[in-house]
């Protein structure tokens, strides 16, 4: 039966959190249309992911397990997902705009002969047409666009962490359907030679419930030591604006914004960040933003719940002392 197909991601044999969110989105669309919700699970070790997906809202799990999928070989993953799409013949395909999804989604949509509804914050069914209306940020999040696709299937990539997953329900039942795909190592047009990963120091930004970030207003690399002290006290992740990265004060992987990382903490505490649109694109989904900045006219105050107009050199020690006093 035609319905909704969620393109899942499996990490170490478990369902990735963004896939749970996409399943929740699929379920709310299905509540209107009565469609079924299936999930595609593809990888070398699928572990408990099919049962987890069913508990998280799937009615059916299509699986492709192949040792060749141990490496993140996009060409092989594309072939496998294409085969699942051919088996499931969905009306709607939902992906997550994760790092992998950024690469997978446009290419899978192209193979299905359609345009992708990219980076969606919300999906609704238009009553009159029964088509999806996707709400997505454009112009660095300064404008919201509502889009409709005339293609079939309708393919949408969801921004992670915008929607809450469903509470897992272990009593839900679903079918697991293995799909046969003849994968061949020669399908990979790109060879992955090696990977250089820096040891993760501190809290991972994307998972942190508090993120502290510094910008141009700090004036140099040294003040970031003080910011790290603050982050340590709060158990927070630490990031920076593009200006601080471009100036060489902090490593490039600290950058939050349009061209950097996207964070969605409960508290986003900025110091010396003006709040340019390309920065806000990476943090505008934080629940509460706090600004410490000398310039009362800076855009960051328009985005913030709490603000301090002042010099970080005096405010930051006060804040750190205040937090110590609370403990």
């Amino acid at each position: 039966m035609a319905g909704i197909l969620v393109i899942g991601e499996v990490h170490d044999g478990h369902l990735a959190p963004p896939t749970r969110e996409a399943l929740a989105m699929g379920r709310s669309l299905a509540a209107t249309s009565g469609a079924s919700v299936a999930v595609a699970l593809i990888g070398s070790e699928l572990g408990a992911s099919a049962q987890e997906a069913i508990a998280a809202g799937a009615d059916q799990a299509y699986t492709v397990a192949d040792a060749l999928l141990a490496q993140p070989q996009i060409d092989l993953y594309l072939a496998a997902h294409q085969a699942v799409c051919a088996a499931a013949t969905p009306d709607i395909v939902l992906l997550s705009r994760t790092d992998f999804g950024r690469e997978l989604a446009p290419r899978l949509a192209c193979r299905l002969g359609v345009s992708l509804l990219q980076d969606c914050l919300q999906l609704e069914t238009e009553a009159a047409s029964g088509r999806l209306i996707a709400t997505r940020p454009v112009y660095g999040g300064n404008v919201l666009a509502k889009m409709r696709s005339a293609g079939t299937p309708q393919v949408a990539a969801l921004r992670p962490k915008v929607r809450d997953p469903l509470e897992p329900d272990a009593s839900r039942q679903g079918e697991v359907t293995p799909v046969a795909v003849a994968l061949d190592a020669a399908m990979a047009k790109v060879t992955i030679v090696r990977q250089e990963i820096r040891a993760g120091d501190g809290v991972k930004l994307e998972d942190a419930s508090i993120v502290v970030a510094g910008g141009r207003g700090l004036g140099g690399p040294a003040p970031f030591t003080e910011l790290e002290e603050l982050a340590g006290l709060l158990g927070a992740g630490i990031g920076a604006s593009r200006a601080a990265v471009d100036a060489g004060w902090v490593p490039a992987n600290w950058q939050i914004g349009l061209t950097g990382r996207t964070v969605t903490p409960d508290l986003y505490l900025t110091v010396g960040i003006s709040g340019a649109s390309q920065h806000m694109a990476g943090c505008s989904n934080a629940k509460v933003i706090v600004a410490i900045n000398k310039d009362r006219e800076a855009n960051i105050f328009r985005e913030s719940r709490y603000g301090v107009v002042g010099d970080w050199e005096t405010v930051l020690p006060g804040l750190i002392q205040g937090i110590r006093d609370l403990k």
Partner: protein, 267 residues
Amino acid sequence: MAALNIIVTAKQVIDHEIPASALTIDATSTQVTAPSSFKPIVNGFDDYALEAALRLKEAGGATITVLSVGSQFDVNIMRKTLALGADRLILCQDPAFANLADSFTTARIIAAAIHKVGEFDLVLCGRQASDWDNAQVPLVLAELLDLPCITLAQKIEVSDGKVTVEQVVLDGYRVAEAGLPALITVTNELGQPRYPALRNIMAANRKRPTTWTAQDLDLDPAMLTPQLEVVEVAFPSKAQACEIIEGEDGGEVGRRLAQVLHEAGLI
């Protein structure tokens, strides 16, 4: 090794550094516009793709063709790519190329233009455009041209008929290789793009870009009908007011801020 033929895609966009408050929405509520006092720019992400091409040209020689699609161009803005060292500028310009919010259509036009260019070794693209932030055209283009595709390059080297790329991944990079021709998207970790020298700007002003219409590209109008329709664009509502914490001096304000955040259950 023979000099490389490199195609760089570039888009003319509204300057992303203009204040958000200067953006306006047109009467049909489907287009974002900027006042004419703000000049458009070459998409900032495409500057990195051109920079990567220029570094390859310096390293081993290359002919660089910059390719752009649109309905209207400010030719002087697009000439910046020639001033920086591109050898040829091709503007695919046609009224039918207006309002391309559908990346699939845009990629089809660029694919047709690349076919018309003929031989090439590399297509280099910016990771996304700063207006519609779709980050799709390069990936769809790789599919349409059936090319190996490596995204988010911070370093590109070509030797022995293959390209080796440092691809940025979370907390590090991956080294990936592919045969030529290949398509690569370039990210800002590549490093600061250069600025054009004044004498090169003046020399570029004497060069004429090549212009290709939909007809020149033999494009079927039906193929240009977008699948995606913009139903509406709007500014997000910013309902919240910022509570400014005040006090005698910075230290006191900092301590108060700690109190306020604690009382709000945030720390």
